[in-house]
Symmetry: C2
Subunit: 256 residues, 2 copies
């Protein structure tokens, strides 16, 4: 049975795309079949996996607008074995406006993807920094949500608003959305700020917080420039090691 | 005559709020009367200036929905002399949905603020990481746009989409939107990535790029935790020095 995991947080720049690309890569290395869906019109996850958005005839926009025929036509292979992607293009920004107007605009992705989901063990959805119609679509189809939180002050503040939103979606639209997990990202052990924020996260969200912490690592930020996930760019850097550890923790959680 | 400057970029976490709070503070220190408008429901700029969103009876949401009576009732003073703020509250997220439904929803802020703008020399608007109805309101009223861009790979990619959007707004809604400026932020001279991205910005956007570069500075990230802008938290750190330099460059640009 496939497990759908949304990566979401309206706070910008907290590591959603970096987590989606690298976690999906590390999970596929553990012999799972993985699909990554890019639901951000900035198409960062698409670019981070070395795919040029403008060369893709079908993207997630066509899947949502139903013009891709079968959703499977928008699935592309990547340089990573066992990892496929449904890319985003900048046209996705217009789809968001369309979906808002429709009754039940939050359920479109779920109905369009139904026929292909069972082919994958894990489906990750990268979302944009907003709580709009597209992110709602991701939360409606997901069984789990991973919330990346930078160990910085502003990031901690936005968390309350997001947890409220996720609980509303769970109550109204998607009772299957059972597990909410928080991932500490860009942790810099040299600064007191990072240490303070991490201990605050541990105090307030002990149950939800992953044991794995993603450290600040320049190699993680360099990899997208080469169109490679970190494990292919530098398999021994601290970022790759952390995402591999996270992948094992995510798989172990399955039975929780 | 007052100058309205929007701080915008749909890429998340590029330094919009940090720039809005610190630039507004440094400009007010140069004997200008400044108003900061927080147009992000995360209310980071409000919190960064030490104001508790839930204690504010009126916020920008009430100004937009016309329930604040005179817009002036939503203006609060801050710890910074010459700097006032119209705060945000999480209710702003619902206003965005309302505005989308209305004809001319992009022009509401302009008409509601008209009577108070002339009381200020500079009005800065902090926006959320999206190109939705609220950001459109900011771009419709602004004469200038400052686009903070981290010296990172993904940040460079998103720039094209934003410049297109701004040019559309200029052509269709706001011919006064004459100056678009790009600000390099979170620059880390120790990494080749930062250096490469900065030289790419200089090559592609020589005319728009500010001479001032904002360096990576932990003190900038610590200050919001104390509800203080950086110049009040640590007046000699590299972040404060850079924003002071930027303030002088922005004022010098006035006559451009
Ligand atoms: N652990 C890390 N160490 C160093 N740099 C990182 C790390 N994680 C992410 N980055 C860099 O920080 C920036 C923000 O990360 P990313 O784009 O993944 O965040 P996001 O939440 O997807 O942003 P957005 O809100 O715009 O979608 C990127 O330039 C990325 O390369
Ligand atoms: N020059 C800098 N040096 C170090 N840290 C910085 C710098 N500028 C911003 N930061 C920190 O980086 C994070 C992102 O900055 P900020 O919140 O200002 O970006 P933003 O564009 O407003 O984000 P959002 O897209 O969520 O609105 C914050 O935690 C902030 O404190
Ligand atoms: Mg992203
Ligand atoms: Mg902000």
């Amino acid at each position: 049975k496939s497990e759908v995991i949304a990566i979401a947080n309206p706070k910008g720049g907290c590591g959603k795309t970096t987590t989606a690309v690298n976690l999906a890569t590390c999970i596929s290395a553990l012999k799972r079949k993985v699909l990554l869906i890019d639901l951000d019109s900035q198409a960062s996850a698409t670019i981070g996996l070395g795919i040029k958005p403008y060369l893709c005839r079908f993207s997630v926009a066509e899947v949502l607008l139903n013009s891709a025929g079968k959703a499977g036509e928008a699935v592309y292979s990547t340089k990573v074995k066992n990892l496929s992607i449904i890319p985003a293009k900048s046209s996705l920004a217009d789809v968001e406006t369309e979906l808002r107007k429709q009754e039940g605009g939050g359920l479109v992705l779920k109905s369009r993807l139904n026929q292909i989901l069972s082919a994958y063990d894990y489906i990750f959805i990268d979302t944009s920094p907003s709580l709009g119609a597209l992110t709602l679509n991701a939360l409606t189809i997901a069984q789990r949500v991973i919330i990346p939180v930078q160990t910085q002050f502003y990031a901690l503040r936005g968390l309350g608003q997001l947890l409220n939103m996720v609980n509303i979606v769970k109550a109204r639209v998607n009772p299957n959305l059972c597990r909410i997990r928080i991932l500490a990202t860009m942790y810099d052990p040299r600064t007191r700020l990072s240490q303070n924020i991490l201990s605050e996260l541990r105090k307030r969200f002990e149950k939800e917080l992953f044991k794995t912490i993603i450290p600040i690592s320049t190699r993680l930020a360099e990899a997208p420039g080469y169109g490679l996930p970190a494990p292919l760019y530098d398999s021994h850097c601290s970022g790759t090691i952390a995402y591999r550890k996270l992948a094992r923790e995510v798989i172990a959680n399955e039975k929780m």
